[in-house]
Structures are given as structure tokens and as C-alpha cells.
Symmetry: C2
Subunit: 409 residues, 2 copies
């Protein structure tokens, strides 16, 4: 049985999935007295099977700790509350209490338990949540909660911080007589680094699925997408990818039904890949998106280390910003990953234009390299010629604007 994925990029977001209601409101978390949207609510009509992937940072924000606990206590989740402007990270006992209180405030409205609600926060680290404002924001969110396009878009905007635009995608899947939907929204633009990013991502689907299988599918999708992007090498305290499946389509995903299973996995990957790419492309003050493919590595670990060393090198990223095809800096970074690469075996090309063949420079292509590196998006392929493993990282250049933007007060 074949399947079709009908993809709507830059869609209205989660309202495209049956049984999900959304809200995006402003409650002035940033103390700026403007109407910036800063609190989002996601509600499923029925308890949804849920799974999550979280930051591996030793310093985990309070909402991350609370969500891990709630997902462990209960396989189904009915609502998620998220805010921007304050990360509720490094806030100790009071932060934990506040994160739980956010769940509790939503749960009370729905006559559910605290553990039926998840919470996500993003923004400045080390400041306490303004709980009075949050409480009013939650009230406001329930007033406007709906399956309208407007509130879905508002929710996608309320989670943004330094992002310049919302990031949403919807995928309709047709597989024989079956039809189901999956949609996602995400935020993230700085502190982006594998495992994962200052990144929040919310995915909703109307399939029926077991929590165990959903976890497996999510881990696979995240590994290939969100864990392969970097902007600045800084991994955050709050990274979260959540997926909720409410079963409203009546389509059941099991490993036994291979076509449906594959269709769901592919659709989930599509959603993750799109959002990951758009997080990179919206990286703070970036001017270029660069895909680094490490091929013919001895093993995946080598390929990954080499790819990340290049993708995070300040010298490499600065030269991309200046459209300088400085392959020497790439070779240097590949070498300091210290995985045992052999420069004399290395092939390298920019967008297919040969730069190095077995460590020898193809100088006559010099003008063409420059053209490739001057583009807004290009691909770098490095063949280590040591084995069969590969790894890809999506990264960006580093601009003066990044430093200016992040220099603070």
C-alpha cells in the first residue's frame, strides 16, 4: 500500500489536526507593557498519548523536570501551557513550585489533575516566573481557546523569543482509505546545538498509537533532525520536543501495519525536519545556511564529531559569512576533532565543485568555489575515505550581528 504526504509549509499549525484547540495571549511576562503574545495553550479534546524528548544539559529548567515527572506518571496528557520571556531555569525550589502551579492552574480549569498537563518555558535564565501575570494569562487563554486558525497562529507566535517569524507545518497523510494529520510548531533561533537547542517544539496528531511506539518514532525523528542542527554550539536548559496523539482520526498506528507505520514515521520526520531547518534558517543574525555532510567515515561517531567540529568552528563560520572558501580552516577543524582522520585521503567539495581530491587542491576550480560559498545555502561534502558511515549537520555562518545581538545590556 502506498501513501501520500500532503505538506502545507508555513501552515496555521496545530489547528489543522482534529480535536486540538489553541490559544495565544499576552500577559506581559517581559515587563515591557506591550501587547506581545507570550503565553500559549494547547488543549486536546480527549486525553492524548504523549511523548517528549528533553535537553541533556546537567542544568535542567524547572518545566523540564516537571514534564519528565508528569510523562512518567501518566501516558496521556490533555493540555500544554507554554510561555516565552522567562525560562524558569536556575530558579531552584521556587521555580519547581511555579512550574507545577502553571500545570495546576490549567488542570483546575479542565477539572483534571496536575499531572495531565505539561508546561514549557523559554526566555531569560535565572529569574522567577511572574506568577500573578501567568495566572491572568491562563485565564485569558481559556477565554479565547478554540480550533480557529487565528488562535493557532497566535499560539505559534506566543512561544517565540529572538525568532523573527513563526515556524509551523501541517502534513495530511493519505494511505489507502485511511487519512490522518500531523502538525507542528516550534521556536528557536539562538543557543541552538545538537541535543538540542533553545528550542521548543510541539507536535500534534490525530492518530491512535501506544506511548512506547510513539517514543520510538519520536526519538528516531529527533535524532535525524533537531539533533543535527547548530547555530552557536550552545545547548539550552529548556529544550523540549513534545508530541501528542489524540486518536480522533481513528487511524491506529502499529508496527504490524507496515504501510501506516511507515507513513506516520515519515510524516513525523517531515515535520521535525522542516521545523529544524527553519530554526537554523532563522538563526540569530545569520546570512547563510550550510549543510555539512561527512561521508565514508570509519563510524558514525567519527562522522558526527568531524561534522560538529566544522559546524561549530568560529573561524569556519566567520569565513562563510565573508563568502571566503577557506578550505584550510575546514581541514583544521576536521583535524582537531581528533578522530584519526587522514588529510591525504580526504575529498572535499562545495556544492559538488571539487576542492580537494585525496588531500590535493584542485586549484583550477577556485573561482567556482567562491561562487558556491557566496550562495545563501550551500552543501559541503567531505569524504574521509576511511569507511562507510556518514553524518549530516545543518549549520549557519556567524555574523557580526550575532555578537551585537547577544552582547546584552
Amino acid at each position: 500500500m502506498k501513501y501520500d504526504l500532503i505538506v502545507s509549509e508555513d501552515s496555521h499549525g496545530l489547528c489543522d489536526v482534529k480535536g486540538f484547540q489553541l490559544a495565544g495571549v499576552s500577559c506581559d511576562i517581559r515587563n515591557k507593557n506591550n501587547d506581545r503574545l507570550d503565553l500559549a495553550l494547547i488543549k486536546s479534546s480527549t486525553p492524548a498519548i504523549a511523548a517528549g524528548v528533553f535537553t541533556t544539559n546537567d542544568v535542567k529548567a524547572a518545566p523540564v523536570l516537571v514534564d519528565v515527572e508528569h510523562l512518567w506518571k501518566s501516558p496521556t496528557i490533555s493540555a500544554v501551557v507554554a510561555n516565552s520571556g522567562n525560562a524558569n531555569a536556575c530558579t531552584g525550589e521556587r521555580g519547581l513550585k511555579d512550574a507545577k502551579e502553571m500545570c495546576s492552574l490549567v488542570a483546575k480549569k479542565l477539572k483534571l489533575k496536575e499531572r495531565d498537563v505539561l508546561v514549557c518555558s523559554t526566555g531569560r535564565i535565572g529569574e522567577f516566573m511572574p506568577m500573578e501575570k501567568i495566572s491572568k494569562g491562563i485565564d485569558k487563554a481559556f477565554e479565547v481557546l478554540s480550533d480557529s486558525k487565528e488562535q493557532s497562529v497566535n499560539a505559534a507566535e506566543a512561544i517565540l523569543t529572538s525568532d523573527t517569524r513563526k515556524k509551523t507545518i501541517s502534513v495530511k497523510v493519505k494511505c489507502g482509505k485511511h487519512e490522518f494529520n500531523i502538525a507542528g510548531m516550534a521556536k528557536g533561533a539562538g543557543m541552538i546545538e545538537p541535543n538540542m537547542a533553545t528550542m521548543l517544539c510541539f507536535i500534534a496528531s490525530d492518530v491512535k498509537i501506544s506511548q512506547q511506539l510513539l517514543k520510538t518514532c519520536l526519538a528516531k525523528s529527533v535524532g535525524m533532525t533537531f539533533n543535527c542542527i547548530t547555530v552557536d554550539g550552545d545547548m539550552s536548559t529548556n529544550d523540549t520536543v513534545l508530541v501528542l496523539c489524540n486518536g480522533e482520526s481513528e487511524v491506529e498506528i502499529t508496527e504490524q501495519n507496515k504501510s501506516l507505520f511507515e507513513a506516520f514515521q515519515k510524516a513525523l520526520e517531515k515535520v521535525c525536519a522542516y521545523l529544524a531547518r527553519h530554526i537554523v534558517a532563522d538563526g540569530e543574525r545569520i546570512t547563510k545556511v550550510v549543510q555539512v555532510n561527512i561521508l565514508s567515515a570509519r563510524d558514525e561517531s567519527q562522522a558526527e564529531k568531524v561534522a560538529k567540529a566544522i559546524a561549530n568552528s568560529l573561524l569556519v563560520k566567520s569565513s562563510w559569512y565573508g563568502s571566503d572558501p577557506n578550505w584550510g580552516r575546514l581541514a583544521d577543524a576536521a583535524g582537531y576533532a581528533r578522530t584519526g582522520i587522514v588529510f591525504e585521503k580526504m575529498d572535499l567539495n562545495y556544492d559538488g565543485i571539487e576542492v580537494l581530491r585525496q588531500g590535493v587542491v584542485i586549484d583550477e576550480n577556485k573561482k567556482l568555489w567562491k561562487k558556491a560559498v557566496a550562495k545563501k545555502e550551500f552543501v559541503i561534502n567531505i569524504n574521509l575515505n576511511l569507511g562507510k558511515a556518514s553524518w549530516t549537520v545543518l549549520t549557519t555562518d556567524l555574523s557580526e550581528g550575532y555578537v551585537d545581538f547577544n552582547k546584552g545590556e
Copy 2:
């Protein structure tokens, strides 16, 4: 027996050590038709016991490979030739031939063997050495070779690349009736990262010492100094620290004579520490030098990883540039080192001004933190309260100027 170290900072360099002659000349390696000094020669009157520490990058420049071979073949070295403007890295067989030829040209002048000479190069990666120019430069160097202050300073200037100033130090050591000298010169301003830097360092002394003991002393000194600095996290293909001891003072360093041994070790550390600090302080377009001390770690490895994560974080470095005491970014970076730190146990202070006590913010000090972080040099102490180990890294802020400077063509 006590000893005294008489330190001359910003000295004339290696000419302060008996029996060393120097030269710094220009031979237009950069093809710019200016008179920039770009070739240095160091010659010892007698064969000097030598030891070296080299980059651990998988991609090692040709001169590094040649020096390792020469030091293995012969414990004594009579001369070193060094150039800036071209790194002779990623240049394959031809690069190796050129590096050997540089040694050979010098050896012929001195009627010695190729293996009695070492070679160092720094500059752009991936371009062949202009050997005709180099050959003329070596001729020129022999014409002016002397123990004069002028040529010693010229040598220290000829090895510079993006540095804004020469880096030299001399130490006279008095220990009872014994007196000996040790002096050093170094270059390095970008691609600075532990193990080590795009860094060349040449140290000369007039002590007598065995190669084995000299190696041990050098390794210890480098571990505590050059391996604890970072500007941009990029480790180069050419890093080299060489030390030559020609015995002219007749003072013999052995482990048995504890006072003399300790005096020599301290003096060597002093030279390395001074040059390492000045490499950081001359970091490309930096505005601040920051010392990060990680204390009470479980073990040294944890302390080192946490220190380096903070010292290399783009977000942390950008906030220092803006004089923003954003301790949340420090905590985040400490966490993503993933060594098992516990935020709730962490103490943090800026120049002694308390910021965190067991994970709780001391908010009343806010104005004082800002003052500390606005200084050109400050110290950050982080107490992990997990054990007894510690590690220190010397790092810099990251400015828009760094990106501008490195964006290339």
C-alpha cells in the same frame, strides 16, 4: 637554598641568553611587496639539548612532522628557522619536501646535518611555500645573524601574523653562586585553544640539562599555561613550543639538586605563563581577558570540561563583550559540559562579588557584578562543591571585530 627570579617583561627576547644568535628578515612570503619581517632564524653557538610540544590536531602541518622526526633522531639542535605568512599545512608530499629543504638550507650554511635544524611555519593553510623567496630569506638572515638586541627583536617580530605586538620575556635566575638565563618569544592571536593555539613559542636557556628532564619540565609548564588558554576554540595544525638549552652557563639542572631544579622549573613556567597570557590578551579584536576558575570539582577532568565549556561559549563571550553579567548563560554552559554538575550546589562570584550561593542568586549584589564584568580583566570563580579538584582557563570575550577580522576575502 633560595633562588631569585629577575623577570624582564617585554624584553629583547632570546639574545638575553648567552650563546644564542638571532635574525629577523623580510622575504615577501605574503606577496605584498612590503618590508614586513617574515623569516626568523635562531642559532645556538653549541648544539643545544632540545624538546618540543606540538599540536594534537590530526591534521599536522609539514614542519610539525619534520620537527618530531628531527627531535627523535637527535637530542641536540643547533638552529631553528621559522616563517610567518604561510603555514605549510595541508600541502602533502611537496610540503614535507619544502619543510625539510628549509632545514637543509640552514644546515648547509652551518655545515651541519638537516636533522640538526628545526623549522616552524605559521600563516595561511593550503598554499605551497615560496621556496625561492625562503631561500633568499635564509641567505639574508645569515648576513645579519647576531646576538644584538635589534636582531632578537626582529626575530620576535618576524614570526607574528595577526598579532598586534611582539611577545617576549627574559628571566635571570640566581640560586646561590649559580646564575642562568631563560628567555622566550611567541606568536599567536587567533585559532587559540587548548592543546594548543596557532601558536609558536621559542624558549632558550643556557643551562645544561638532559633531554629527558627537559621534556618533563616542558610538558609540565605547557600543561599549566599554553594548554589553559582559549580565544576561539579553534586548534591549529602548526602549534609548536620549542625549548633549546645550550649549557653555556655551565649550570647543570638535575633532579638531585632540588633548589636548582625548582628554580629552573619555576622560571620555565614563568616564561610560558607570561607568553600564554599575552597571546590571550592580544586575541583577535578582543576587549576583555577573563580567568575562569572551576573549584571543588569531583575531579580535574570535570573541572577542565566545565571551564572550557564556559570559556568557549559564544553566548557567554558575547555577553562579556557587552559587559552583561549574564550568569544564566554561564550556568547553562556549565551544564552542557555534561559532567554531572548540580546547580543547587553551585557557588559563583565575579572578582569575589557573590552571584550565586548554592544555586541561589544574591540579587542585592547586582550593581557590583556589573562593575566587575565591565572591567578589562576579571576573574570568575565557580565552586561546584562536589570534590577537591580545580582547573583554570584564561579566555576572552568575542567581539563583532573578531568576525569582521576573520570573514576573509
